[in-house]
Symmetry: C2
Subunit: 255 residues, 2 copies
DNA sequence: CGACGCGTTGCATCATATGCAACGCGCGTT
DNA sequence: AACGCGCGTTGCATATGATGCAACGCGTCG
């Protein structure tokens, strides 16, 4: 909508591919060098791009800060975190929390073993949206039209023999998932990894997030993992209750 | 330099404080609502802001992706990582890698115990620049003028009794550090934590990064930690050699 | 020593961002 | 139920501010 800003922001993904010099940026944008220079300078002042010693530009440190603060604003995460920890303590396996946004599914929290690690490393990387149990739950809840549009716009990589092969299979799976209210990924992403997931519903009944438990089948078989389903669902429901009894100040649950 | 872009980018830190609606954004920017709307729309198209269901805006998912890619472009990290792991295996303590950028010091990698955890959680958050051993090394190497400017622009929080109290003490410490070629933080940030750090020098001899070993003094005393100094320095030198024997394709070190 | 490549600057032009005013809509109030 | 307020949205005339050009500085390579 705003050409200047549009151009400036187009520089960011461009630099994400690697450092570039002024000429390269100007060429890729299709603008004059002096224009690119001014845009880069502005981005630079805001810390979004950094000028390294060889004069080339790369993405800047402020991006980290912003991403950091962005994730901290996701209040589902805050509310859910203690529940994830408890769930992990009960079963010992890896626990993930994910949300849907703009055609993507993002992990926004993770608890592994006893080490509560903010798994920022996964955030931003494309989740295996066609196979991940949490993705199925989040997509299954989209309005019909959007669901179809998203499903048909996806690639369906064959991670394993059990990966979802195409859009129609995926939509069918989503229908099942919506029906039953939980989802699994049995070796669809990595041959030896299974997951069970359950939806976190907000006050409006829509799926606000999804949480999952994952384990390699050398530790527990898929059948054993499925026995955790009630626990997973109970946890997800508990999160949903906390979340929709929406306390902007969740430290004061009374009143 | 570019007013439009400048305004648009100013929205990001604003939203980092929390979700905001159109009116709030327009007010904070001091522009008309319609202007703010167009800027937000442009940011939205690029995924930097997200419009949540209550119509308010918050930071978007693309930020995660960009931050992710940005960190992957920091090639010091890639080159250094195996060294950090080896250092950790030798001594068992937490190992950090940090760089300086634009008045800030950032941790860009971390290895703890036997768990190779990407410490993205620290990235973007302000490092305790006035006391951290790595920060001292990175700042000590800045050109005189910039070093003074940075040092005098800092706050000097008294984390502990041994925190650096003010700019002049800090500059003095930096001089010492530059002289001796290594640095420590003995309880300057947290009473019971000590660090030793050494600089990673690039081909030009400048300090490109710094790495440190940290341990609580209930595990090892400061004196014992200091015995690791030769190992830390050797590791940092090794990273520097790898780094300045710059192989853009570090998997093929011959030729 | 000359020429090229690259980043940088000042400036005239006009494309483009801006603010205004009016509209639509949902929600709480009377 | 009707009204009015608040908020987001749209179209448009204006002039501000972004654009590309041409010229310059500077370092490097031939």
């Amino acid at each position: 909508m705003s050409q200047t800003v549009d151009r400036a922001l187009s520089i960011l993904p461009l630099l994400a591919e690697g450092p570039a010099d002024l000429g390269q940026v100007a060429d890729r944008l299709g603008v004059h060098k002096s224009t690119a220079l001014r845009l880069l300078r502005t981005l630079n002042e805001h810390g979004l791009v950094y000028r390294q010693s060889d004069q080339r530009y790369r993405l800047g440190a402020r991006l980290f800060a912003l991403a950091q603060e962005a994730v901290e604003n996701l209040d589902v995460r805050e509310i859910a975190h203690p529940h994830l920890v408890r769930l992990n303590e009960s079963c010992g396996h890896t626990v993930h929390l994910a949300v849907y946004e703009d055609g993507e599914v993002l992990y926004i929290d993770k608890v592994e073993s006893r080490y509560p690690v903010r798994m920022y490393s996964r955030i931003g990387k494309p989740v295996a949206i066609t196979v991940a149990a949490v993705a199925k739950l989040l997509l299954a809840d989209l309005p019909e039209a959007e669901r179809r549009a998203v499903a048909e716009g996806l690639d369906y990589p064959r991670y394993t023999a059990r990966s979802t092969p195409d859009a129609s299979a995926f939509l069918k799976e989503l229908a099942t998932v919506r029906e039953q209210g939980w989802a699994t990924d049995l070796g669809g992403h990595e041959e030896s990894i299974n997951c069970v997931a359950a939806p976190v519903r907000g006050a409006d009944g829509r799926v606000a997030a999804a949480l999952s438990v994952s384990a390699p089948n050398v530790v527990v078989t898929a059948e054993e993992l499925l026995t955790l389903l009630p626990l997973v669902r109970r946890t997800a429901d508990a999160v949903g209750r906390d979340y929709s009894g929406q306390a902007p100040t969740p430290d004061d649950p009374k009143e």
